[in-house]
């Protein structure tokens, strides 16, 4: 989770990721940020995030992202 | 109040307000035929019916001077044979005349008898002075989607009447003649070149319903004992040679008129056409609609021709013969 937080902080350090639960629906991250986030997550955790994971609820909070990463790792 | 009842009540209220307003404005609008509006009802000797080519080619003032009569141009753009019959029926009942000129073109004979142009619908609607006739025209002769346009024009006409801003002053002043261009117009060499490059224009078969419509007009005129003249207004030389089937049209029209014992003059074939009409000056921006210069020259020619003793000799026998003298040589 810390590594994930590091990636997020690098993309946009002005968001409080511990409390923000609407990162996508609340338009806190734009499409470039999302793409950068996904690329960095894939590199950092050695996973492939396919289009099927591209739902707002999977990226709205740090917890949701972490759960998604773990699920992908288990599947792989 | 239940939602649906409230909706029905409000909608009905809105429609009622619209209806009252519409009836009021419609009542204010003035619809009267050109003949009546120009003060010539009951006094005319010669009426012309046709579509846009006649509307912009027959100048009553010129005809009157040459023929010593009182004429009125009842032609309106996009007028179909049904429309012509309707207008003539009303006018002849009020004003039996000695002569009726029916303008015909190849294009018109291949077009439907039903007028689907909104402008054309309203123009005919506007000529009908009785509310019953107008309503009948709307229901039976106007395509459904054009009703809104006729309604809109009627409302605007009512508003203009209330504000003392009459419409159609030009049409009334000139007894039905409408110049195709707002002023005398000369075709530029570039426009002429562009026109002569456009595709060959050919029309389809003549429609039975349209021919039947023409028959009805002829019978109507003859029932009033009028002299019936069928006239083809000349189109520009360049445009003429992009039509196909003109000789077949000429033969068909000649047979139609001979069968009904009425006169027929195709002014495309008049021997003086090249001397009197030039593509650049007589036609303006439209190759098949005369400019004011062309219209005046044509009206004068028409008037001189129809009562000339040797009028048949003034015309070429066929388009093939005409082509031999034509200054325009198609590629």
């Amino acid at each position: 989770m810390d590594e994930l937080l590091e990636i997020l902080e690098e993309i946009n350090p002005y968001i409080d990721y511990s409390t923000e639960k609407n990162l996508i629906d609340g338009k806190c991250l734009d499409s470039l940020s999302i793409l950068t986030l996904i690329t960095n997550i894939c590199d950092a955790f050695d996973i492939e995030i396919g289009p099927k994971w591209m739902r707002n609820e999977n990226f709205n909070s740090v917890e949701a992202m972490w759960e998604m990463i773990q699920t992908i790792q288990e599947e792989e | 109040m239940r939602s649906s009842k409230k909706a029905i009540a409000v909608t009905a209220g809105l429609l009622a307000v619209l209806l009252v307003l519409s009836l009021f404005l419609s009542g204010q609008s003035v619809h009267v035929s050109t003949l009546e509006a120009s003060g010539q009802a009951g006094r005319s000797d010669l009426l012309i019916v046709g579509a846009s080519q006649a509307e912009c080619a027959f100048v009553p003032a010129v005809l009157d001077e040459e023929l010593g009569c009182v004429s009125c141009n009842l032609a309106i753009s996009a007028m179909t044979n049904d429309d012509k019959y309707l207008i003539l029926e009303g006018e002849l009942a009020r004003n039996p005349v000695q002569t009726v000129v029916i303008e015909v073109s190849y294009n018109a004979m291949a077009r439907s008898n039903k007028n689907d142009l909104a402008d054309g619908n309203y123009a005919v609607y506007d000529q009908l002075s009785s509310a019953r006739d107008r309503w009948d025209y709307l229901i039976h002769h106007t395509p459904f989607d054009n009703w809104l346009y006729v309604y809109a024009k009627d409302m605007v006409s009512g508003l203009r009447s209330m504000l003392s801003m009459p419409e159609n002053t030009a049409r009334v002043e000139n007894r039905g003649y409408i110049a195709w261009e707002p002023r005398d117009y000369t075709l530029s060499p570039e426009d002429a070149a562009r026109q002569h490059q456009s595709l060959v224009y050919s029309t389809g078969d003549y429609l039975d319903s349209t021919i039947e419509g023409m028959d009805q007009i002829v019978s109507l005129c003859k029932s009033y004992g009028a002299r019936v003249i069928v006239a083809v207004v000349p189109i520009s030389d360049g445009f003429l040679w992009r039509y196909q089937g003109m000789d077949q049209f000429r033969q068909w029209l000649k047979a139609f008129c001979e069968e009904r014992q009425i006169e027929c003059y195709d002014f495309n074939l008049h021997r003086q056409r090249y001397a009197l009409f030039s593509d650049a000056v007589s036609y303006g921006s439209s190759e098949d609609h005369m400019s004011e210069t062309g219209a005046r020259a044509f009206s004068d020619l028409f008037a001189r021709t129809i009562d000339a003793p040797d009028r048949d000799a003034q015309f070429y026998g066929s388009y093939e013969e005409l082509l031999e003298d034509s200054p325009y040589r198609p590629q």
């Binding site: 499409s31 470039l32 999302i34 793409l35 950068t36 996904i38 690329t39 894939c42 590199d43 492939e48 995030i49 396919g50 289009p51 099927k52 591209m54 739902r55 | 939602s3 649906s4 409230k6 909706a7 409000v10 209220g13 809105l14 307000v17 619209l18 307003l21 909104a118 402008d119 459904f144 989607d145 009703w147 809104l148 346009y149 309604y151 809109a152 024009k153 409302m155 605007v156 707002p182």
Partner: protein, 536 residues
């Protein structure tokens, strides 16, 4: 069937009445019947293509689901027996089958779309090459009548196909519901391009008539008709005259014509949306919004998040993210990162995705080089902004520009409006070179004449629009601007419905009368008022 015709008014009224009079479980059947009638009114033969699209995606999605279900069942039953490698191999085989099915359905639909939209363009390019080598051209004698709304319903269908492929949700088993999703008449001509999950929740839920939906929906429809029939149709005649002969006008007139075109196209497209969203509201159905005050955007990227939103969302979900997230795109970014630094490495996937998106967007809008260039110019500005973001930040810091400053916001808004206005007209004037000559004309032609009419082309018979109609269009434009300002806080109808009935009713009656009379005249004057986006 034109939306601004009496036939449509009657059709919509009858559909609304039947929709609410019949039992609620039949409501979507009514919509399906109405959609097919609407489509057939535009040409019965073309409905075959809608049926093909609906049928292909119906069977493809069910087929893919069958494979998924079989896979789940098989793995469940053989959980203890199969090794990890065997499970992976099995999953890979099943994935391949699903992918083949998806690709087949995708290709069929794209083939139909591309044939109708791009056949003549493709042939023209081939003929260019043939002429270049001195051979004889291929004669283009094929007469293709593009099915109504093919670009919209094909994209919408492909979205559904890919959503099922990516297992966002299970496919719909009822063919009629799939057909309705594809052919739903309020959106088939000009969108919005909807997502199945969202739209089906609206379409297949039973709706009770409420006065609020009826009144609000009607008000929005009326507003949409006013925008389209008055503002858009009047301006289209004026703008058309300027664009036809811009060489005969001053550069300022050409620029004014461009501004009018921006207003015209917004009034036309958003007017249609208001009409259809308003009508759907009367049915109790919420459609996706397609506009969010786009001319108040501060950048070209933001503009495209506010203009034709559903198309942008579609391209983002089905083109931008898949390309940007792909393995090869990430590998390329890593390689470039070593030479260009982290920031540029991070932007490479987005850049590649944007190039593809904007090429495709240009092509979607029209089969011509001017549309392709139009897409390219849009993409260029968006990518440039992306790359120069660090430079902009430094410049703003150095100049002490506060992001929150109103002056800065105004500058950004005006700059963006000018940019999108110039880009917008490129494909509208004629050929690509006509568009480029218009741009040049604006900057180069400043011949001085002591004639105010030379500077700005006045309404009148030469411009095809009378003073009265032009003033009406101007008043409509002002009203649209005020509405946009009000919309920052809440919908305009919320303000409107707070007014006393004694004010509301005359306003509605008055606007209805103006739309029916002057709006109708303007519509017929502009050539029966076809919608600009209805050619897609």
């Amino acid at each position: 069937m034109s939306i601004t015709s009496l036939t449509f008014f009657l059709f919509a009224a009858v559909t609304l009445v039947v929709y609410y009079c019949l039992p609620k479980k039949w409501q979507w059947y009514v919509l399906l019947a109405a959609s097919l009638v609407f489509y057939c009114a535009g040409g019965a033969k073309s409905v075959i293509y809608v049926l093909i699209t609906a049928t292909v995606i119906y069977f493809a999605t069910l087929g893919m689901q069958r494979i998924s279900d079989a896979q789940r069942e098989y793995l469940k039953q053989n959980k203890a027996v199969l090794s990890r490698e065997e499970k992976s191999a099995y999953k890979a085989r099943q994935k391949k089958k699903r992918k083949a099915m998806m690709l087949a359905a995708l290709l069929v639909n794209l083939a139909i779309l591309c044939t109708f939209k791009y056949f003549h363009f493709a042939l023209a390019q081939i003929n260019h090459l043939i002429r270049a080598v001195g051979a004889r051209e291929i004669q283009d004698t094929v007469n293709l009548i593009v099915p109504l709304g093919i670009s919209f319903y094909t994209f919408q269908s492909i979205g559904y196909l890919l959503d099922v492929y990516w297992e966002f949700y299970k496919p719909e088993r009822n063919y009629g519901k799939v057909l309705l999703f594809v052919s739903f008449f309020p959106q088939i001509t000009q969108g919005p391009i909807s997502n199945f999950e969202q739209l089906s929740a609206e379409l297949f839920t039973e709706h009770t008539f409420t006065y609020r939906n009826y009144a609000w929906g009607f008000q929005r429809m009326l507003w949409g008709f006013a925008k389209k029939m008055i503002v858009a149709n009047i301006l289209s005649v004026y703008v058309g005259r300027i664009f036809e002969g811009f060489q005969d006008h001053s550069g300022i007139t050409a620029l004014f014509g461009m501004f009018c075109y921006s207003v015209q196209i917004y009034a036309d497209f958003s007017g249609y949306m208001d009409i259809m969203c308003g009508y759907c509201e009367m049915l109790g159905i919420r459609l996706t919004e397609n506009f969010d005050r786009p001319y108040f955007s501060k950048s070209v990227a933001e503009y495209w998040r506010r203009w034709h939103i559903s198309l942008g969302t579609w391209f983002k979900k089905y083109v931008y993210y898949p390309i940007g997230m792909s393995g090869w795109s990430r590998r390329l970014a890593k390689q470039c990162g070593k030479k260009l630094g982290k920031y540029f490495a991070d932007t490479i996937p987005a850049t590649i995705a944007l190039v593809v998106v904007w090429f495709a967007t240009g092509l979607w809008h029209g089969a011509s080089w001017s549309y392709i260039l139009w897409g390219g110019v849009n993409g260029f500005f968006i990518i440039l902004t992306l790359w120069l973001e660090p430079v902009y930040s430094k410049v703003k810091t150095a100049l002490r520009i506060r992001e929150s400053s109103r002056l800065w916001a105004a500058f950004q808004t005006i700059r963006t409006f000018l940019l999108v206005t110039f880009i917008k007209v490129l494909p509208e004037v004629g050929t690509l070179s006509d568009g480029l000559r218009l741009w040049k004309h604006v900057f180069v032609n400043h011949e001085l004449r002591f004639d105010f009419r030379w500077i700005v082309a006045f309404p009148g018979s030469e411009m095809g629009v009378s003073y009265l109609f032009f003033l009406l269009a101007a008043a409509g434009t002002a009203a649209m601007f005020v509405a946009s300002l009000l919309q920052r806080k809440k919908p305009v109808r919320a303000y409107f419905n707070e007014l006393p009935a004694a004010v509301r009713i005359p306003l509605v009656c008055g606007l209805l009368f103006v739309v029916l009379t002057l709006g109708t005249l303007a519509t017929f004057k502009s050539g029966n008022g076809g919608f600009l986006y209805a050619q897609f």
